[in-house]
């Protein structure tokens, strides 16, 4: 009862789109970050499945890299969000608009 590859693609695409929707609608910087994590994990679904599909471990290894880099990204992101909070008294990404046009 193998699940066809297209199902996995649809699953990851759906995850990705949920992530995109979160990015587009959320104003809280932390939720913005979480949405991006979701998008990264959508990619991980693909990697893990297709690694098995093609019979090599490249994809699974790469998904580990993605996870590690996502953590690093979050670390930097939290740092930036902290200074954002100090300078703008909040973590609303739409508040920081001193530069435009």
């Amino acid at each position: 009862m193998a699940v066809p590859p297209s199902y996995y693609l649809l699953l990851s695409a759906a995850l990705f789109c949920i992530g995109v929707a979160g990015v587009l609608t959320r104003r809280n910087a932390l939720l913005f970050l979480m949405s991006i994590e979701l998008m990264l994990n959508a990619a991980n679904v693909n990697f893990v499945y297709f690694s098995q599909f093609w019979g090599n471990v490249t994809g699974q290894t790469f998904s580990l890299f993605v996870i590690a880099l996502a953590a690093a990204e979050v670390a930097i992101g939290i740092g930036i969000i902290l200074v954002l909070y100090r300078n703008f008294d909040g973590v609303d990404v739409t508040e920081a608009t001193t530069m435009r046009w």
């Binding site: 290894t61 580990l64 890299f65 996870i67 590690a68 953590a71 939290i78």
Partner: protein, 135 residues
């Protein structure tokens, strides 16, 4: 498709049982709202405020350090997978070990740097100190 029916049935049951129990109990129990019931349970202590308090920033620093070093360790995993087969294939031990030592070495440099820069030291903030002396 019949195997999917089983999956669906499992889902229905999984959601249905708790819902049913909650529904049943709300129908059977007497409803006596009281302030003490909705108060925060702090193991008998009188709560000092709401649960929505701001944590000291240093919790985040420690958490961040944990997350980073924790996740970096995951990268050791693929190496361990190939370690033994590669040794058996006759790859020299140095060739196999050196990259991982370098990797860990770099992590150690980062950790020591963070340590020396006070990332893991708990510095009492002036405000916290003040609160402590006041209470």
């Amino acid at each position: 498709m019949n195997q999917w029916i089983a999956v669906g049935a499992l889902g229905v049951v999984a959601v249905g049982i708790p819902l049913g129990m909650m529904a049943a109990s709300s129908m059977l129990r007497p409803t006596v709202p009281e302030q003490g019931k909705s108060a925060i349970y702090e193991s008998g202590e009188v709560p000092t405020g709401t649960a929505r308090v701001q944590f000291n920033i240093q919790y985040y620093m420690v958490a961040l350090l944990f997350v980073i070093f924790d996740v970096e360790t995951v990268l050791i995993f693929p190496w361990t997978v190939i370690y033994r087969p590669a040794l058996e294939e006759g790859v020299p031990l140095v060739t196999l070990l050196a990259p991982m030592l370098v990797f860990i070495g770099i992590l150690v440099v980062g950790l020591v740097w963070a340590w020396r820069n006070g990332a893991v030291e708990w510095v009492a903030s002036p405000r916290a100190l003040k609160e402590k002396t006041e209470s």
